[in-house]
Amino acid sequence: MTVDLRVNIAGVEFANPIMTASGCCGYGDELATIFPLSKLGALVTKSITQNPRLGHKPPRVAEATMSMLNAIGLANVGIDAFVTDKIPFLNKQKTKIIVNVAGWSIEDYTSVCARLNDIPRVDMVELNFSCPNVESGLEFSSDATQMERAVRAVKNVFSRPIVAKLSPNVTNIVDIAKGAEQGGADAVSLINSLIGTAIDIETWRPRLTNNTGGLTGPAVKPIALAMVNKVHNQCRLPIIGIGGIRTADDVVEFLLCGATAVQVGTALFVEPSAPVTIAKGLADYLKRKKISSVSQLVGKVVRH
């Protein structure tokens, strides 16, 4: 039996629902030494900002129980170097390219996305709203009105689909998802990392120089699943599920909860070829269940 792993989000067809999560594979060049990127549904780049950023001082990472704390600080080459140095490599890759964009003002997002609009190779942008908005003092990610305004502004300069990446550090993630929908987002991806910390009990100092960091990895998966399901039930946008995915079984859970596709992040740091194993495992699951297309799983969780 052949199974169809293709999924479609906002008119873009992906070979399979497995994407890399932003910040977990750079711009793809290192990962391409591990496996051909054509095995991915999409490569999601590291967050690109208007100016290059060195990132936070080390230590930037700490391991917690079945999870990782990171405060990399959006280290990236900036949009100019991304276009000149990284796009030529991405042009040769046989996978969809989603460029993640971060900023501190609406102008930051629109200027980067306007540049990306001129590069047809960029299939989608994913907006990382985890930074505080320097203009309003509010985080885009925790205020539905801010989210709506930012997405709408990007919509005006970027003609292809836009994904809004949602933070779990909010009172009600559905409100923010609806803000993104109002602004014209074509999909939402969730969850971004949870805010966490870890303390060295000898020195009494946090184990990250930034004091806090983003918590990711297997430990966050149940939270992510619940949020994906909540957004799926109350918002019409397609969902890209993110949070602690390591195996094909994890992917099935996310799809059943309402995700159309998923992103693999922290698992890449444990097993860089994880997406390949996961995609194969997903096909095996569908065969075992005699399901012809992966999209038939989306949102099919049977509630008690």
Partner: protein
């Protein structure tokens, strides 16, 4: 392009080197022959509760058995589980990763400076140099530790025919004090010779060697250690600041860096 694939290998030999140090031989490993001194393998800890792999420098290669040796000290959760592995147990490794040591010039004197568990890559480097025909009389092996139990595998070093200079903080072996003391005397005495330093050890030692070498205008390389989630350059977690500004990834741009390159 060689694709790096993680592999399940078998623990084919294990030696207790005392004081919580162990040597294990892992194989068959398809990439064993490709491992160069200074490179590391990223090892999945056998304890399922430890998420990230741990990096271990390759200590030697057995080409006949397609095996590699790693030497580690039981220190935390991961290495404790690793220390409990028995002959025949399976373990998943990824590698070889990272940039290896550069070769010394034929006329140069290679000065290894090892501190504690920073010793394995320098053992591999010295052994490889001798095997490739480098005159062992041109290799000086400085090795420091807290006490004599930290200076492991002494017969192997001596067998190479190199000049072995230990130092311990408690004076139980070699000169009493830090290894940088006899090293500095050596550098001063050989100021006119073409020397090349290779260092690996705790941060304090690396910092001292880095400064000493620059003061004495001796070139060389240091192998760094850092908490390293991915090992393949994608997480940006293990960065160190560079003297010229910016950061470098220990796993991908290193772990071997030129003296003076990193702001230690």
């Amino acid at each position: 392009m060689i694709r790096i694939i993680s592999e399940d290998v078998t623990l084919i030999a294990k030696r207790d080197l005392h004081n919580n140090y162990y040597s294990v031989a892992l194989g068959p490993f398809s990439r064993a022959k490709d491992c160069r001194p200074g490179q590391f393998v990223h090892v999945q800890m056998p304890n399922g509760g430890v998420l990230f792999r741990r990096a271990f420098s390759v200590a030697s290669v057995d080409p006949k058995r397609h095996a590699i040796e790693i030497i580690f000290r039981v220190f935390g959760r991961g290495t404790r589980a690793l220390g409990k592995l028995k002959k025949g147990d399976s373990i998943n490794i990824l590698g070889p990763l990272g940039v290896p040591f550069a070769q010394p010039g034929k006329k140069e004197i290679a000065v290894m400076v090892a501190g504690g568990i920073g010793f394995p890559p320098l053992l591999f480097h010295a052994e490889s140099l001798v095997k490739s025909g480098f005159n062992p009389k041109r290799i000086f092996f400085y090795y420091g530790g807290r006490g004599s139990a930290d200076i492991i595998e002494r017969p192997r070093i001596k067998k190479l025919g190199v000049t072995f200079v230990p130092a311990t903080q408690d004076g139980s072996l070699g000169q009493k004090g830090l290894i940088t003391k006899p090293l500095d005397s050596f550098l001063a005495a050989n100021a006119g010779s073409a020397l090349r330093i290779y260092g690996c050890g705790p941060e304090g030692m690396l910092k001292a060697v880095n400064e000493l070498a620059q003061e004495r205008r001796v070139a060389g390389q240091l192998s760094l250690e850092a908490p390293m989630p991915c090992g393949v350059g994608i997480c940006l977690g293990c960065v160190v600041p560079l003297t010229n500004g910016g950061y470098a990834r220990v796993c991908y741009d290193g772990p071997v860096f030129n003296i003076g390159e990193v702001a230690l």
